[in-house]
């Protein structure tokens, strides 16, 4: 296990702040920075308390003054509570605010639907000018942070909560998909640590049965790497998207829109069904319960290929 991506992000941010006086760290009482020594940058760490509208407005005001603020809150508070500020103050202003949104997807686990963020990709993808990134592991989070610093516009960095296994994926370059595996029978596209890992597991399961699939990590949902996605889906009878997000408007929506326009292909979307989590449990339990697993992806793939009977659980999704 590598450290949680949010801790890797934090540690890199603290290092970057020491050398770059433009960088600010705006906290909203998250606790992520407890005990952190910012050294020479101590004056640029500001805990603004539990007040997300003010948080985003302060970030916009700093960014309009030539600073580069990193804003810290949970994904659901950033994108639903403070949405109007993201839209009007940050996106419309085209300002270089970086939003580090933790506890995304189902990663808040047993904390429940008030803390789950299953709508954030749909929202952020709709706002003009935002770069929207879901790193698949801690290293990818560091690479995304480093590359985000000098982007001219705003960035939404979708982070989880707990540690996830490292991914053998090569360097992360914002705006470019990572092709993790090649296969001619079907294409799997995913974003986020658990969905990407589930796709790799599904690929292993399918390979054992002689089915070879391509696996693509779409860490940057916006701007979308349209050319690479169309290329990765060329010639296959169907593609499957997998995300820790409601099935509406996120990766599945983006891929379906893209393929409809450029290369019509059947798209099956795996993600959280159209419901709030109705069971109690940790992130892994919820992912399992709602079918965001390698087994379910593999069964869906076989069903799409007409090879085996339908997954009995397929009706859920």
């Amino acid at each position: 296990m590598t450290p949680p991506a949010r801790e890797a992000y934090r540690d890199l941010l603290v290092k970057l702040m020491a050398d770059d006086p433009r960088l600010y760290c705006l906290d909203s009482d998250t606790g992520l920075f407890a005990g952190v020594d910012f050294g020479v940058a101590a004056g640029r760490y500001v805990n603004l308390g539990i007040a997300e509208h003010n948080l985003m407005g302060v970030a916009a005001g700093l960014a309009a003054s030539g600073k580069i603020p990193f804003v810290n809150t949970m994904a659901t508070f950033a994108t639903t509570r403070a949405l109007e500020s993201l839209k009007v103050d940050i996106a419309y202003g085209g300002l270089p605010v970086r939003i580090a949104a933790t506890h995304s997807g189902l990663s808040a686990g047993h904390l429940g639907p008030t803390h789950h963020a299953l709508e954030d990709l749909a929202i952020m993808r709709a706002l003009p000018g935002f770069t929207v990134v879901t790193p698949a592991d801690a290293t990818a989070a560091e690479e995304a942070v480093a590359q985000s610093v000098d982007l001219p516009g705003p960035v939404y960095l979708r982070l989880g909560r707990k540690a996830t296994p490292p991914l053998e994926a090569g360097p992360t370059v914002l705006g470019r998909v990572q092709r993790l595996r090649d296969g001619a029978d079907l294409t799997l596209l995913a974003c986020g640590p658990h969905p990407v890992l589930a796709c790799l597991r599904a690929a292993d399961l399918l390979a054992a049965g002689g089915v070879e699939v391509t696996v693509v990590n779409v860490h940057t949902l916006k701007p979308l790497d349209v050319e690479a996605i169309v290329a990765a889906c060329a010639g296959v009878p169907a593609v499957i998207t997998v995300e820790e997000h409601w099935r509406t408007g996120g990766l599945g929506g983006a891929v379906a829109e893209t393929l409809s326009e450029h290369a019509p292909t059947r798209v099956a979307r795996i993600g959280m069904p159209d419901t709030f989590a109705k069971v109690v449990g940790g992130q892994e339990h919820l992912l399992e319960h709602y079918g965001i697993t390698g087994e379910h992806i593999a069964a869906t793939a076989l069903s799409l290929l007409g090879g085996t009977p339908d997954d009995p659980d397929l009706s859920r999704v």
Binding site: A51, H53, N54, A60, A63, A64, S65, D89
Partner: protein, 282 residues
């Protein structure tokens, strides 16, 4: 006495703005309300002395270099006062007065709420409750410059204002000043009949702010209040104003909120304003 032309080589004259400037600004506002789209008449007329005092007497700004690093910041959080702001910016020399005639028309920079493409406008406003959070950020970025936010009194019903007000005081941002355009009215009626704001001064004091209360149509009172801050504390100036001020037929009435003036209404309003200007200069 003639109106001095706006110049760009005197960024912050220390003389009070001649009364004629406020008269002309009111005429510009009325003219914009007679355009094809109409405009927020009442809340722009109530702002005239506040904006004029700030732009001609208080703010460190250079119309020739609106983005100058050492400028003060002004945010019109009540963005529906846009036509008042445009009129003052034009008179102060940020763009030609003639451009006001394009307001609301296709191709113009001047829309119903201010946006950053207008010289002198720092941030887009219009949705209420955004200005003070933004000002906190501007003020945090450079504690040596003053940041002014003009809020409407109805706007104080937005929770984000109070989130931000707590934060301003908590961060000790004494370079932030809020001016409340206390005209007492919102779209449906009196603020006090909608969601009461009083005791307004006490509320701000309880949030850690220094409070001054003035006649919002007196440039002398505004100037004195805006330049008398308290070290360590942000300042709020509650400016008692009259919505639609200058036009007796609409002033103090909720109907003044938005107006599209027909030809006869426009002519009558201009006549009233000019008679008032003559009375004041004689």
């Amino acid at each position: 006495m003639s109106v001095p032309a706006s110049t760009t080589d005197e960024p912050a004259p220390n003389e009070p703005a001649p009364v004629q400037v406020t008269d002309r600004i009111r005429e510009h506002i009325v003219a914009m309300c007679a355009g094809p789209e109409g405009g927020h008449l009442g809340g722009s007329m109530s702002l005239v002395e506040i904006l004029t005092t700030l732009y001609f007497d208080v703010l460190r700004v250079d119309p020739a270099d609106p983005g100058a690093a050492d400028r003060d910041i002004l945010i019109l959080s009540k963005g529906h006062g846009a036509i008042g702001l445009y009129a003052v910016l034009a008179e102060r020399g940020f763009f030609p007065v003639e451009e006001l005639a394009t307001y609301g028309r296709p191709g113009s920079r001047l829309m119903g709420h201010p946006v950053r493409m207008v010289p002198g406008v720092e941030v887009a406003t219009g949705s209420l409750g955004h200005g003070l959070p933004l000002a906190n950020g501007f003020a945090l970025a450079d504690r040596d410059r003053r940041c002014f936010v003009i809020v409407g009194d109805g706007e104080l019903q937005e929770g984000s204002v109070w989130e931000a007000a707590m934060s301003t005081a908590g961060l000790g941002l004494d370079n932030v000043t809020v001016v409340v355009d206390r005209n007492g009215l919102q779209i449906t009626g009196r603020t006090e009949d909608t969601v009461p704001l009083e005791p307004l001064a006490d509320r701000w004091r309880a949030f850690g702010w220094a409070v001054r209360e003035v006649d919002g149509h007196s440039e002398a009172e505004l100037r004195a209040a805006l330049t008398a801050g308290v070290p360590g504390r942000p300042l709020v100036v509650i400016a008692r104003t009259v919505k639609g001020n200058g036009l007796p037929s609409v002033q103090g009435r909720v109907e003044s909120h938005y107006a599209r003036l027909g030809e006869r209404q426009f002519a009558r309003a201009m006549a009233v304003l000019r008679a008032r200007a003559r009375r004041r200069s004689s």
